[in-house]
Symmetry: C2
Subunit: 469 residues, 2 copies
């Protein structure tokens, strides 16, 4: 085809992949979305991205930007389309420690940015299980969340500037490094989270933070979720808001882990219903100075607070990590969530958020409603409890599409009733378009469509994603 | 006129003002923008706002939303138009202390929200001189900044949800209370900062924070701006990032204050060139417990840090407030900035930001360039130094428009060279449209215009603002 030749001219023969060579782009990692792209193209620069987009527009063939391809909602599904891979644009262009920022290309892997910041004693705080494969372009495209949103915000809060190739092939330069910039409409935040439907983010300025001088990380068992909120508020007050992660893993999650991995261990000698992983990051030096006996103030503080709550009966059991290896083991249990979800086979994957004080009510109502519909359905919960974000995965016994849809609707009804969101951090992609149509304010959806039509009149940019028909 | 009658039917006779009754809406507080509106209308509810917009659209008359009318850029200029005042929609609908949020109408005065939060031991951290008059609608419309952006971010960071009346008169419900919500394009942040050109924000969900249990507030004199950055970094490290305000007032600012107010005092017995106001907010209880001798740990910490820096020669003089009255006096000196700007007569008001480590270079280059053009021009600087935001006001000796324009261009050229922004926190309104045309990425401006045309095809919503022709 002519377009293939055009693309080869732009990026070089070696970087236009077809057939088996493009297999990576024909399937998402959950296995839920399959479809062979016309080809995959790997531009090496912003100019090449722009040329590819222009050639595709001229040929009337849609472009689907692909970064790490670790999404859960099918946002990179590209059957018969051009999969535009950002993998070669993988340079950390600059780390400016004094200004606490990194200038990166969109193909930089998340863990690569973690390492680059670490070399300067800084952190890029965004983190989640797929950090070894996910790339900045996808992180920005989906406004990714993860486990440290509680303290640092989501991707949008961590980004100062972006560069975007528009559907017209023009390059928009919003690469500001400023904390304050009110020069017109906030286009940056519009393109972040648009999942490549308005343009392709090719580079970004990301914020870095002082690396906590010490962490205190613990597993804690509580009687119920009300006590968990108590625990969070107590620790936030005691530390002046230094809680970095507050993750909920109920018994069904621990069971799924044990079933999946023969080497997996329970958090405590006996099993509890409600387990919390908490991490506190101490930035003030006096909280991190290791004493001669090896104690660290922030860890001692956490132990003391937990001991008080055990006396009160608000905490049943607790274990504070005493080494980096112990800390890593606690995190590993949490970060295997994605794998556990996929390993269980085709499921209803939900990614909802509700106000913090309604999480218990949500879980209780959802459990009862699922059981009423399908008494033998299996479900698993893992939650960024600190920001009300719950991942409830359901495996119905009846594998009909109708049953999957019904389960999704059951969950959404409860979420809507609690004024929550049906999409907290995974985005919409293909998988949640039905939910967008059913649950999102119709006026807002109409405005989104007006914006899409205005910026991409030809519908060339990742069409069919995010917005319902 | 028919439209006046229509409006009276919608909001009641008492709430459609014309002639002298509408004088407030014919002039901004700086006096730079004058123009009599067709009328001012004061709807009492979101439904009434929607009806007013529909009536205006039917009559083909533009609507200019007005909140506190304290802006500096002429964003509420409404000659021959309908000034839509939000002043009657002034209810704090709800404070939810556990969830740390407030649900407010757009006419709520900023200080009213401060008071409402305070009653629950919480703070709404956004603050600036006009807080007794500015209203939430304007704060959101301009994405207002102020003195606490360093710690809490600007208005956008403090807002969870909004309700908007669109140019069509439809009401868009984005009143989410969630920390994580990725359900489609980020319309909230698009409407925030759009200065009423895309729609009228009628209500919002704003974030509240734990009130610092104690403040340490000081005036500090430093040898130069490099030492000021040193001071900021030293204090951020020592406190784990608890610096709430870091404001720069050079000698020309102190002089302007002395000239304006006979009761004004210099910060120190002798005058220094470089004065900093710093405030630290202690949220961890142990930093705020008042000892028997009256000392407060956070204040003692600050004094100790400053004493060290005086020994090193990095600080010349310092005074830590010992009472709330002393703290208030330090703040009052900073908050009179707007008054000093207006009192000096017609001036070139700039509101620029540059990367933190380029502020000294900016000021040095600007001073020389201004003197080269007009050796007797007077200028005054005040700066939210902690986020690189500088307000440089210039009073040229030659009062021609050409001279004002030339001064603005001189400043903008330097800002652009340092990769800064010509508009940090005041917005664009009418006053900075020329700068938008000259300095903003042309591709970005084109995208903004596409969005404006798509959402407001009739051009009914605050036309002629923000976007250049």
């Amino acid at each position: 085809m002519d377009i293939i030749e055009d693309l080869r001219c732009i990026v070089g023969d070696a970087h236009v992949l077809t057939g088996k060579d493009a297999a990576f782009f024909g399937r998402d990692w959950t296995g839920a979305y399959e479809g062979t792209p016309l080809c995959a193209v790997r531009p090496g620069s912003t100019d090449e991205v722009a040329e590819v987009v222009k050639a595709a527009a001229a040929a009337g063939i849609a472009v689907v930007p692909v970064a790490g391809n670790t999404g859960l909602m099918g946002g990179t599904h590209a059957p018969g389309r051009i999969a535009l891979s950002l993998e070669r644009m993988n340079r950390v262009r600059e780390i400016r420690p004094q200004a606490r920022l990194a200038v990166v290309e969109a193909g930089v892997v998340l863990s690569q940015l973690h390492d680059a910041a670490d070399q300067h004693g800084l952190v890029f705080p965004l983190t989640f299980g797929a950090r070894g494969s996910a790339r900045i372009g996808g992180v920005l495209g989906t406004n990714a969340g993860g486990s440290n949103v509680l303290r640092y915000g989501n991707t949008r809060s961590l980004c100062l500037g972006i560069e975007v190739v528009l559907p017209s092939g023009e390059v928009m330069d919003l690469m500001t490094e400023l904390m304050k910039d009110n020069s017109g409409y906030d286009l940056r935040d519009l393109f972040i989270g648009a999942e490549g439907t308005l343009g392709i983010v090719t580079a970004a300025v990301m914020r870095l933070y002082a690396k906590p001088a010490a962490y205190a990380t613990a597993m804690v068992a509580v009687p119920d979720l009300g006590d968990a909120l108590d625990l969070l508020n107590t620790l936030q007050t005691a530390t002046g808001g230094a809680v970095e992660a507050f993750e909920y893993m109920p018994r069904n999650y621990i069971d799924a882990h044990l079933a999946h991995d023969p080497a997996a261990k329970t958090p405590f000698a006996r099993q509890y219903d409600h387990n919390i992983m908490v991490e506190i990051g101490a930035t003030a030096p006096r909280d991190a100075e290791v004493a001669e006996d090896g104690t660290v103030p922030v860890q001692a503080q956490l132990e003391q607070a937990l001991a008080h709550m055990i006396e009160d009966g608000r905490v049943l059991d607790a274990h504070v990590a005493r080494s980096e290896a112990e800390r890593r083991a606690i995190w590993a249990r949490r970060e295997i969530a994605g794998e556990l979800t996929v390993a269980g086979g085709h499921s209803v994957i939900t990614d909802v958020s509700v106000p913090l004080d309604r999480v218990a009510e949500f879980l209780d109502r959802a459990e009862r409603a699922i059981a009423a519909r399908d008494p033998d359905a299996r479900s698993m919960v893992v939650s960024h409890l600190g920001d009300g974000n719950i991942h409830l995965t359901i495996w119905p016994t009846d594998h009909s599409e109708a049953q999957y849809d019904a389960m999704m609707e059951i969950v959404e009804e409860i979420v809507l009733d609690l004024r929550g969101s049906f999409s907290a951090e995974h985005g919409i992609g293909l998988g949640k378009r039905g939910s967008m149509a059913r649950r999102k304010d119709a006026v807002a959806v109409a405005v989104m469509k007006q914006i899409k039509a205005a910026l991409d009149p030809q519908g060339i940019m990742n069409p069919g994603k995010v917005l319902p028909d």
